[in-house]
Structures are given as structure tokens and as C-alpha cells.
Symmetry: C2
Subunit: 456 residues, 2 copies
């Protein structure tokens, strides 16, 4: 290890910052982990906001690299399939992958608190809550944090990571650096979201199928529900911020009630006061963040949402951030503590993958909210699943590449997925495909196309 | 006029800020025009940097709206055609439009000083040089400017425009506003640029054809030259910042000399110390800026590069900024000083046009640096010119729509141009088109396609 580089600052103690701290401390670095908010284990900082995340294989791989997979799994619920609810309340089940493959519902607050507690046990980690980054000298790495009681506090280190999320202060300060040619964008999506809740039954059981992610796909908007261990579901309504049917246009209890009655018939009796919640909550925005470079002056790096905020429609935001941590940690070992090389390799390896998953997640809104209810879409999925069982080495469905193939880079998944789409477009042109989709000629053609286009 | 809204601040006294000040003052508003730099008429602030711009019909229309067209024209040189220089020094001439249509070479510093002097004559305008915007309260419109002698100076007004360029402070402050859902991006292009000079002959005459824009198109890079009234040419070399042949890779006098000898044979003996200039100058970046909204709290607006910085390859940056001013000024008259309506209409009308010209300018790098030397490209231009002469109501070439059709919005030019490209792609597929391009069947087909696709 380069002795000049042993003190590391991490701005942001969300799930990514906390995991990164644990990984670096285990590799022998002194880590100061700063968080602008209070310790959520002691103070209720979420104010009725609860977010659930879908943890999948990339996340697990990173968590298992530091041996905390089992601990986290105790509070996670496997979801083996999507359950689509149509406007009549009819259900369609669609497995996420093969056999026992699942994505896991976790509460963001819960996993964050677990990781913070793990970080606290590390002797090399110091956690500073209620320290908000205010200034950073990108040359000397002198950082100033504003605190409630002690005013502006100065902290020096040799390296600094911005794990401070979509509106990262580290990133915003970096953007102001002169002569560094930093390209960056922050884009608001048309949709915003609010959380709603389905409480458990009196006996603590779930009111809908427990081991599933529930979706009410309605094209321009959708409702989803993820299970919690206490029997409740955390639901999220994604809806345009403005326009015809939107958070702005639905401005009275009557309109909102009619909206729920018309679109979410079967969910309405299960949800806790959805109309009140809709009327009283401020909808949260969805953003995409791009920036390049991710590394400044060979000693400041961005990680997680700070580098690549995406929309939640692929359930990959946290998984991607955890993968950033795993890859970085592997590079630390590989380059034996030479941080110029580590950071350069980190940026080279992760930037294209960040871009790819941002793109995949953006596209998946259409898949979740629109195509999920479409018969062509469902047939495509069935044919793909069938072909994938016949030729597992030749065809892994895109969703599985992203979700269940943690050693395949996102950028490769995106590229292969685009070729698969071309092939499936051709297959779906076959005459009577809806009737004959199980006949051998379909899979013979698919095999021929796959060999020609994918085996390069 | 709304008496509540009579004091206007403009941040940035470049050409756009100065013209906007004149327009608003003539409509009865008190304008305070702030500029971070010193008065260039008194101090040499450009330090060897000289930029020439191509003023064209959109710019003239705006200047003529305040009656200053003739004054500006005294220092401008019409360029009727591009003169392309190949690697052997062979020349190809390509007119910009029909007959006497020209774009006009002006020095940025010169036109800026002329507009500042015009602004100074307006009794309602106060100009404050060496006042750098530091803080802005977007509610109260209290602005603070840092000055050399008087420290931080506070100024209050009812409305504020950010005409402060690509790296606009007003925009950067707006981006930090909470809960406003401001999408924004700043993208660095791979190319940077430096200025070079061709001095006049001893008798003050030009060393190359005066009334032309000279281009040395070399695909990945290019040199251009614009004439000045003193007999000199201001040249700009556009080249990748990094990579195989780039500002970074050409790091010795030998390499730079060889680069000029190989690529700019005929220019080399005319240029003043190009190798020294190349070695000693820091290359300037090229950026694209997008932001939405352009208007904040109904009283702060962005204009010019601050709202829509583009690359210089269509010669439209300043023209677009001047058009912003003209349209805004017309809306002021139309909405009788109701600024909420004025600003909403300004944003609605100008944002799509800003996006369109950013896109057109980006695409034009390929046209200038690559296609200009291509025989297919030249043939396309010839066929288009011919058809356009036959059916002037049906076909105005894209370049002419952008440059010589100041009443056609950029967004319409872009949309029509894309349809023209489809049609020309079909025409270029005709057999023996290079031999038979003058035969009637070409123009008959083109007429049929144009009627079908363009006359909707």
C-alpha cells in the first residue's frame, strides 16, 4: 500500500458509501465516512417516506465479497415473478428467470442501517453524522463540512469518494473546476412518484401474493408493490408530473378517487388511504445523471448515484452502486494500492457500464408500464424463455443478463440485448407466430440467426 | 408597461447582452448592464485572442430592428462562397446561396465594442464593467457583484437576464435551485481550437481571395480562415484535444511542422508563425449547453449562449442569440409589458429553436470537415441548387433555410432538412447519377418526391 494514500474520506453514508467504507477498511485504509443527515437508527429522518429496492445478483455478489450476504438476506423477501394486474383485476404471472431465480425486496432504510452498523464495527472507520459537505479543495483535499453544533469543520485526507447520491455535492463542486473539461448532465424524467402502503392482514400475513413484485401497468403510468417482512407492501405510483393525467392535473379528491377506481380497481380496497396520501404528499422527481470524467486530480472519485443516477425501472440503481464498490475493491488489490492506476482503471471499467445501465433502465419504463400488458410482449418472453432453456449458452434473456449474470458487464448485456431484439423482431414476423410459437421451425430459425449474429 | 417591472438587470455585456440592453431601453425600460471584464475599448483584454464570426440574415434582421445594421456593415466583409483547399493546394469554390447571398465576416471584439458604444448612448442604460455576478436571490432579485475596488456590490431589479455565455453564472446558480426540476447539460466536444493569423500583404491587400470563407477540410480536423478589413485573415484550427492526431499528441515543433506541411501545404507560407502559435497557445474547448426551463420564477431568463451554447460550425451562435433578442423584444410589444406572459412565450418559442440549431451546428462539423471534400457531397449540393432554382417555393437548401431565411424557425429548417435528406438519398441511388445529374428525369423524380413528402 502506498503510505501516502492511507486516509480516505467518503462523502455520503447511504448504502453505497457504507459498503465502500467497509470494503476499504478491510483492505487496511483509514476511512472517515460523512453523512449530512442524522443517524436514522436514532432519529426518524424519513418522515413517512419508505422506499423498497430490489436487490439482485450483482448486489449479492458485492455483499458476499465482504461476507454480509446472509445478514442482509434475513430481512429480504425473494420475488420469483412479476404479477401483472389488469384494469379488471385479472392477474398474469411472469417469472423473472429460471427455477429459483429471484430478485429480493429490501427496505432502503433497513439495508442502509444494517450496513452502517457493520461499518461501525470496523476499527478503521469513523462515522460522522450531520456533517454536510460545504467546500472541497480538489488539490489539497481539504474538505469543510457544516455541522449543527460546531459550525464549519475541516477534514483532510489523501483520497475522497463522493457517494453522495443523485444531487451529489462532490459532483457539483467538481463541475465548477476550471480547465478540466467536465461534461455533465442532469435530466428530469416526465414522471414523478409517491409511496403508498398496503398494510398487513390482522394476522400479519400479506394481502396479496407475497413472493412477487406486483405491477399495475397502465402505459403512461403504473403502480408497483414490493413486499415487506412485516406483512405490508410498499407501493410506488409513477405518474407524469404535468399534463393530461398527472400529479398536477389530479388536483381534487374526486378526481383522484375516480383515477384509482378506474385504474387500480383491485388495489384500491387494499391501499391505506391512497387518496389522502396522493393529496398530501409532494411527488419525488426521477433523474438521470451523466458525468465524465468520474475521477478528478487522481484523488477524487464518484461512485453510485453520484456518478450515474438512473431511473428505478430495472431495479439496478443500488446493485450498480454495489458493483462499483466490488470492482473498485478488486482493483485496489490488483494494483497494490497505486491509486492513480486504481482510479484510472475504475473509471475505464465502470463508466461504460454506468452509461449502459442508465440506458437500459430508461428503456424499461416502457417495458414495465406498457409492454407488460401486451400480448406480443408476453409471447416474446415465452419464446425467449423456451429458446434459452434449449440453448442456455447461446441465449440468456436480457433481463437475466442484467439481473442474474453478475459477471457480465452491463455494457455487454446492452449490446447483446440489442442483437437479440433484432432476432426477435424477425421471429415475430413469422406467419401465425401466435399460433405456432411452439413449433420446431421457430427455434431452428432462431438458432440459425443466433449463431450468425451472436457468435462473433 | 407594468410599472412593477421597469428595472431590468442584464448579466453579461457580450454582443447579445449589449443588443438586448439597447432593445429593452428603446422600449422604455431602465437597464443595468453588468460585465465581469474590463471595457475592451480601454484595456486590451483579449490577450492575442481574436475570434471572427459569420453574421448572416438572422443577425442582420435583429440589428436592423434597432436600426444599427448599416453601422455594423461598415466593418463587415461579405463572403459569397466557401473556398475549399485540398492537400495539394487545389481550390474548389462553392457558393453559399443564390446570386448575391453572403455571410459576413466580423470580428467578435469589434461588433461587441460597436454595440457597447450604442448602448452607452441610450439614456436608460447604465453599464457596469468589472462587476462579476457572485450571488443572486431568485425571489427578491437581489444580486451581488464582486468588484476590484468596492468589494461586493448589491443591486436590485425587477427582472434579470443571464446573457453571460457558455459558462453562465446565472445558469449555474439556477441549476442549484431546489425543487425546480431543472434539467441541464454541458458537453465538451472532442475538438478544441486555436486561432492563427494570416497577415496582409505589404500593400494592405488580402493574401487569398477576400470575399470567401476558406476551409481546409481534413475529416478529423480542419483549418478555416475569415477575412478582416485590414487585409488579414483570422484562422481557426479545429483539432481533437487528445488521441492520435491531436493538440496533446502534437507535442514538439518537429511534429507540428510536419503536421502543417502535410495538411496545409498552401496555407503554411501564409500563416504567421503557426508552429510557435501552436506550441504556445492553450487550445480552447467547444461546448454544447442544454437547459430547461430557460425562465425561473417568472423573472429570470437566459438568453444567447447561456441558454443554448453550440459549436461554431454553422456560424449561428451569435445569430441565434440576436434572434432571441429580436423575438423577445417583439413579445414585449405584443404582450404589452406583461412579463409573465412575455417570458412564458419567449421560452415556448425559443427553446425548440435553440435545440434545433445546437443539433444542426453539431452535424455541420462533418459537413465542413469531411463532406466538403467529397464528390457525392458536392454533387448533392449541385443537384439541390439546380432544383431549388427550378422550384424555389418547393425547395430551399438546408444551409439557406438556416442562413438566409430569417423568418423560418430553426426547428422547421431542421425538420424540412431531414425530409430533404431522405429525398436526396433516393436521388443519389439513381443509376449513373454522377453522369446524368443534369437530365430531366432526375428533377421530375425529385419534384414528385418533394410534392409527396414536403407539401403536407
Amino acid at each position: 500500500m502506498d503510505k501516502q494514500m492511507e486516509n480516505i474520506t467518503i462523502a455520503g453514508a447511504g448504502p453505497v458509501g457504507a459498503l465502500l467504507a467497509v470494503m476499504l477498511a478491510r483492505q487496511g485504509y483509514r476511512v472517515d465516512l460523512f453523512e449530512s443527515r442524522a443517524d436514522s437508527r436514532k432519529a426518524n429522518i424519513y418522515q413517512g417516506k419508505s422506499i423498497n429496492l430490489a436487490l439482485s445478483d450483482r448486489g449479492w455478489l458485492a455483499l458476499e465479497a465482504v461476507g454480509v450476504g446472509d445478514t442482509i438476506r434475513e430481512h429480504a423477501i425473494p420475488m420469483y415473478c412479476r404479477v401483472m394486474h389488469d384494469t379488471q383485476g385479472q392477474l398474469t404471472r411472469l417469472p423473472y428467470g429460471q427455477d429459483e431465480q429471484a430478485i429480493w425486496s429490501v427496505s432502503r432504510a433497513g439495508i442502509n442501517e444494517q450496513l452502517i452498523s457493520l461499518a461501525e464495527q470496523e476499527p478503521l472507520i469513523n462515522i460522522h453524522f450531520e456533517h454536510r459537505l460545504a467546500e472541497l479543495d480538489f488539490d489539497s483535499l481539504e474538505a469543510r463540512f457544516s455541522t449543527k453544533d460546531s459550525g464549519l469543520v475541516t477534514h483532510n485526507s489523501d483520497l475522497l469518494f463522493g457517494a453522495d447520491g443523485t444531487f451529489s455535492k462532490v459532483r457539483r463542486l467538481a463541475q465548477e473546476l476550471p480547465r478540466q473539461r467536465i461534461s455533465h448532465s442532469l435530466e428530469y424524467m416526465p414522471q414523478s412518484y409517491i409511496e403508498l402502503t398496503i398494510e398487513p392482514n390482522a394476522d400479519g400475513s400479506h394481502k396479496m401474493e407475497k413472493n412477487a413484485l406486483h405491477i399495475w401497468p397502465r402505459k403512461a403510468f403504473m403502480l408497483i408493490a414490493l413486499p415487506n417482512t412485516d406483512g405490508s407492501f410498499t407501493c410506488t405510483l409513477f405518474l407524469d408530473q404535468e399534463g393530461d393525467t398527472s400529479f398536477e392535473s389530479l388536483d381534487s379528491e374526486e378526481k383522484v378517487t375516480a383515477f384509482f377506481e378506474q385504474n387500480f380497481t383491485d388495489a384500491l380496497p387494499l391501499l391505506s388511504n391512497p387518496v389522502d396520501a396522493f393529496m398530501s404528499k409532494a411527488a419525488s422527481p426521477l433523474c438521470l445523471v451523466h458525468i465524465y470524467p468520474w475521477v478528478f486530480n487522481n484523488k477524487v472519485g464518484l461512485i453510485g448515484d453520484a456518478a450515474h443516477a438512473m431511473v428505478p425501472f430495472y431495479g439496478q440503481g443500488m446493485n450498480c452502486g454495489f458493483e462499483d464498490c466490488r470492482v473498485l475493491s478488486e482493483l485496489v488489490a490488483q494494483h497494490e494500492g497505486n491509486w492513480e492506476s486504481i482510479l484510472a482503471a475504475y473509471q475505464r471499467e465502470r463508466k461504460p457500464n454506468g452509461d449502459a445501465i442508465i440506458e437500459l433502465a430508461k428503456r424499461n419504463f416502457v417495458e414495465m408500464s406498457d409492454l407488460s400488458g401486451d400480448s406480443n410482449f408476453l409471447l416474446r418472453k415465452k419464446i425467449e424463455q423456451q429458446f434459452s432453456k434449449m440453448y442456455p449458452e447461446l441465449w440468456v434473456p436480457l433481463y437475466s443478463m442484467v439481473t442474474f449474470s453478475p459477471h457480465l458487464p452491463y455494457a455487454s448485456a446492452l449490446a447483446i440485448g440489442d442483437i437479440q431484439t433484432e432476432i426477435m423482431d424477425e421471429i415475430m414476423q413469422l406467419e401465425n407466430i401466435h399460433q405456432e410459437w411452439q413449433s420446431p421451425h421457430v427455434y431452428q430459425l432462431m438458432h440459425k440467426l443466433a449463431l450468425a449474429k451472436l457468435e462473433k
